[in-house]
């Protein structure tokens, strides 16, 4: 098709959108955040169980949305499980930088998440990529129970 489109919709991204990993709920002891993007109807229910030191013990999601938000959520859950609180925060920051600013060399720690870099050329789609991460940050900030984030808030 064209290069920018192919950079946005890389095979890895399309694969995660079609077969999202860690799709499901966590039965017990998880923080639940409902994130939505009212302008396009995307919704994500993020479940995170934090350890005593606030590390990410378990993380899953359900919901529906465009390829970018689904793939971003799927990749995020794979990346975050088992991370310490500090690592998770650093990843969220690096991801935000990746999709919003022109970085010469994306942090290697991002690994697979680097496929989301193509979003940079599509400013209207940045919030699709960020939705799961904003939900995660909300989960980190809240102690227990459930919360909400919205791209329009």
């Amino acid at each position: 098709m064209n290069a920018e489109l192919d950079e946005l919709y890389q095979q890895v991204l399309l694969d995660h959108a079609k077969r999202p990993r860690n799709f499901g709920e966590i039965a017990e002891g998880a923080v639940h955040v409902h994130g939505d993007n009212p302008s396009c109807g995307d919704e994500i229910h993020l479940h995170v169980r934090f350890g005593e030191d606030r590390g990410v013990e378990e993380i899953k999601f359900t919901g529906h949305g465009c390829a970018i938000s689904l793939a971003s959520a799927s990749l995020m859950t794979m990346k975050l499980r088992g991370r310490t609180a500090a690592e998770a925060t650093a990843l969220a920051t690096a991801l935000r930088e990746l999709v919003t600013t022109e970085v010469a060399e994306p942090t290697a720690a991002l690994g697979d998440l680097r496929v989301l870099g193509g979003v940079r050329k599509f400013p209207q789609r940045v919030k699709c990529a960020m939705l799961p991460w904003r939900a995660f940050e909300q989960a980190q900030a809240g102690n227990a129970g459930s919360g909400r984030v919205s791209t329009e808030a």
Partner: protein, 413 residues
């Protein structure tokens, strides 16, 4: 209603009147299929605006100088033109607004504040654009009135009119509904709905945002009390719009905005107000916008809205037939009677991925809920992809869209 011009229409020549359409997006000819959101403006309108700004601009109804009289004549001339355009009995029934949204808010704030009380019912439909829903929610909150809705049939997007009798009880004081659904294209039988409203003593309001530039409209034939539309959806500039209100009703309505232009005399404590329509137009209006709206009306009437409707109908029909041939694509809304748009979902691609993909090929579609969140919820869809047409669009463009949709299906499938 205007008799169709005798000559046949050269649609390709009309298209050439639109400078903005003569461009490429990322190396591909622009295909503009987002006309339900906003249409483009022909050179005749752009020229009228420029001419006015270069020769005639001044404030209206104020200065006793030449330019002010020219501007006033242009502004009030535009009002008369609008009145003829929609078959209003007189120009005093035409209030200029910023658009459909402001027109509806005017009714909600002015008429609503005076005539609605706790326990009254505002009847709407499940098809409404947020701008014909939210103002009524706000009004209901303020007055204690209740909202009630005519349901939409999920199968074909038409209203369940067989329920109308049960819904239109004597508590209903206002029945507001769209003429054409911007989300799925349903055309409502507006004259019948207005008649039903009148039969129970309810006031009727027609949201004509999607119809005013697309088919012949006559408020007296429709029998509505209010009708609202936006200039930018019919070749006129943004920030222009109209509220038609039947004279007897407008006369009973209090002002909603206070300021200059709308008063007769002002003391420090109290003011008296002009008669409609000026009572509802506080402050300096969008004068050049009205000039542009008048030019747009001239332009559309030269073509004839009956012909525009027939042209767009054929284009929409063509798109419907083509879309039906793509497996995994579902077209929403009625099969027959529909406005100039197709709203659809594709199994393999989310509306936003599809519109991003299309945009890369120079095709402007809209993906999302189209300011119809309750309707989308009812249809159990997060959103749709919409292609909306106008008379400058072509069959070849629809064919090009189909190629792009097929390519998208391969890409995402």
């Amino acid at each position: 209603m205007h008799a169709p011009a005798p000559r046949s229409i050269d649609w390709a020549a009309l298209r050439a009147d639109f400078p903005i359409l003569q461009q490429e997006i990322r190396g591909r000819p622009l295909i503009y299929f987002d006309n339900a959101a906003s249409t483009q403006r022909p050179r005749a309108v752009l020229d009228a605006l420029r001419h006015f700004d270069e020769h005639d601009h001044a404030n209206v109804h104020r200065g006793l100088h030449e330019l002010s009289s020219r501007a006033t004549d242009a502004y009030e001339g535009a009002r008369q033109k609008v009145a003829r355009f929609i078959g209003a009995a007189n120009a005093e029934e035409i209030v200029f607004t910023r658009g459909t949204t402001e027109a509806i808010n005017l009714v909600a704030n002015s008429w609503g504040a005076k005539f609605l009380k706790a326990g009254d019912v505002i009847l709407l439909t499940e098809l409404e654009h947020h701008s014909n829903l939210v103002p009524w929610q706000l009004l209901a909150e303020r007055t204690g009135a209740r909202l009630r809705f005519v349901p939409v049939r999920v199968e074909d997007g038409t209203l369940e009119l067989e329920q109308l009798g049960a819904l239109l009880t004597p508590e209903v004081k206002l029945f507001a509904f769209t003429h054409i659904s911007n989300g799925i294209g349903t055309i409502n039988p507006v004259a019948e709905l207005c008649r039903a409203a009148r039969a129970v003593g309810a006031v009727s309001l027609v949201d004509a945002a999607q119809s005013a530039g697309h088919l012949p409209l006559d408020v007296q034939q429709i029998g509505c009390d209010f009708l609202a539309f936006s200039g930018h959806k019919m070749c006129a500039p943004t920030g222009t719009g109209v509220l038609y209100g039947r004279a007897e009703i407008l006369e009973q309505m209090p002002p909603w905005h206070g300021g200059g232009e709308m008063i007769v005399s002002v003391t420090l404590e109290k003011s008296t107000f002009k008669t409609p329509p000026h009572r509802f137009e506080a402050g300096t209006p969008n004068i050049s916008g009205a000039v542009g709206l008048a030019a747009a009306i001239d332009y559309l009437e030269q073509i004839g809205r009956d012909r525009i409707f027939a042209h767009d109908r054929a284009l929409t029909e063509h798109a419907q037939v083509q879309l039906a041939g793509i497996p995994g694509v579902q077209v929403l809304g009625p099969r027959e009677e529909r406005g100039a748009l197709v709203s659809f979902v594709m199994e393999s691609a989310h509306p936003h991925d599809l519109t991003t993909f299309a945009d890369q090929q120079g095709l402007a579609l809209r993906g999302g809920h189209h300011c119809n969140q309750p309707l989308m919820r009812k249809l159990k869809l997060p959103g749709t992809t919409r292609a909306s047409f106008y008379f400058y669009n072509t069959h070849a463009e629809v064919d090009a869209m189909m190629e792009i949709l097929r390519a998208a299906q391969r890409y995402f499938g």
